[in-house]
Amino acid sequence: MSTKPIAVLGNYKDPDLLITAASRIRESGYKDFDIFTPYPVHGLDKAMGVKRTILPYISFGGGIFGLANAIFLIWWTGADHYKLNIGGKPLFAFQFSIPVMFELTILLTAISTFLGLWFLCGLPKWYSPLQNDKGFMSAVDNTFVVGIMATDQRFSLEATKKLMTELGADDVRLVQE
């Protein structure tokens, strides 16, 4: 077992304290840090300086793809590949295509949102180095766990620990591999 440091973790219980801590960590110049919470805490992403996700663009792209596919599918099957005259109705028209166009737009938007979400989060990933820490898993129960990663340029064992303690974290500890 090597003793490569992975991160410094600290616990919080109070959301207000957490928000202040998050913005202070960001202001101290740390980039590679994360906060693990049992539920989304309003305003925390802003305090951490999380950049707005590009997910809406992925969803929109998926929607457009679905719409285009629907139009092509209906036009190609009905008006090009196998022309079937039913009661003299037009082989292709937008009027009768709207329901299927709509449904496929929604379907592909949903699927791309779903896949895009996990892609952007880097999930599924069934292992996190932080799970070596016993207290880390309480983040999905009742604790806010702040973690400053060792990969951060400003990371230094002493200074990072000190900052965390100053910001009111409980149980400040080092996680090692």
């Binding site: 959301p15 957490l18 309003h42 992403d45 929607g63 299927v100 496929l104 379907l107 949102t113 989060c121």
Partner: protein, 481 residues
Amino acid sequence: MNVNDTVNEIKTHQNGHTTANSLMPSMHEEVFREPLILGNPSLHDITEKIASIPTLTPNLKFLLTLFVFASMAGWGLFCMGYTIMTGIGVWGLNNPVGWGWDITNFVFWIGIGHAGTLISAILFLFRQKWRTAINRSAEAMTLFAVLCALIFPLLHTGRPWVAFYWLTPYPNQMQMWVNFRSPLVWDVFAVSTYGTVSLLFWYIGLVPDLATMRNYVKSKLAAKLYTTFSLGWTGSMRHWHTYEVAYMILAGISTPLVLSVHTVVSMDFATSVLPGWHTTIFPPYFVAGAIFSGFAMVMTLLIIAREVVDLKSFITLKHLDNMNKIILATGMMVGYAYAMEFFIAWYSGNPYENSVFINRATGDYAWAYWTMVSCNVISPQIYWFKKMRRNIPVMFVMSIFVNIGMWFERFTIISTSLHHDYLPASWGYYSPTWVEISIFTGTIGIFFTLFLIFAKYVPMIAIAEVKSVLPGSQPKHHDNH
């Protein structure tokens, strides 16, 4: 500043700490609104309460209920097999009544699903925090209802093994495609999209809770399963940020989707030329009816669930009261639609329309029509009284009434319109055979069996969402208000 002082006092009393600024709107909410969760639990209490359900050995009550419903499901599946082996001649369908219990049940089950999406998507967009206690189970209900619904049109095709290229644009040897001008094909797209999107939405909501379960359960197999399906969720705020956007997008697209689904279902009827079906009121009328019946089914399920699994502190009378208000409102919309159909039939001056509606209320199926009216329009009126909206036995009986009434609404629309059309020489009557009845009770069995298994092994309350609306769980001073 008397009022503010009082507010401060109550606030101090409730949360155990003083807050200087009492003018924030959220505080008024916290002070004057009924709590969403009773008993002031801590975050860990919530985890403990919900996550412990799957770890407990199932009790006799649970197993017995499961046995009864699974037996119904088994018998239903047998009758489905019998229908497939023999042909739909074993049903009571005839000429002129070519759509009977099968399509009635299809519309019934699809309608049930709509409340789930309404609760999870539309109430989310309206920021209705009370939905957090009930959305998970309502969404599960949607999935199971859609599953039950799909059985019927598939069997109705008579030869379900070739239905794949009848219903979907599947490249087959004959190089024939589906007819996109047909509302029945629209329906295939609408229902399958609805099922898929509901599943994705439900699963996204589940992931953080499965992660909580992953760390809670003791059994190795269970831990493995929860771990796999929780995808390695850690609760990272960077993930939550994207997650919340994804949730919002899905809620945003599910809202028009759910409205479109029953609209398209209603077009199966409305685009025909049959008097009694050929009306423009159908889409909104069907959507209102779907939400009405869906809420009734959520009610039935939740009243049972909160008793059996002891969730009374999460699913409170406030939740039930709110749902009863929606039942009252949508019941009135449905009542309005019934009245308006009659008015338009008379106002159109069309003798065929006229006769269909007079026949509905006075003809061979009048019993079905009046069952529908009394269950759907008359009985929900007791919900004008708060006492009734908060009375468990009353609302349980009411929810069953509405379920029955809404089933009869579909039956009335389908059968009364078909059995008397233009030519008196081709009038007929339809009643179901034991096979059709068994298949319907079979789907009830399937629905409840799946729901019971869900309630036992999947977190039935959205743990993370409930935590996020707990008083004191969110920072007090942030600019997102």
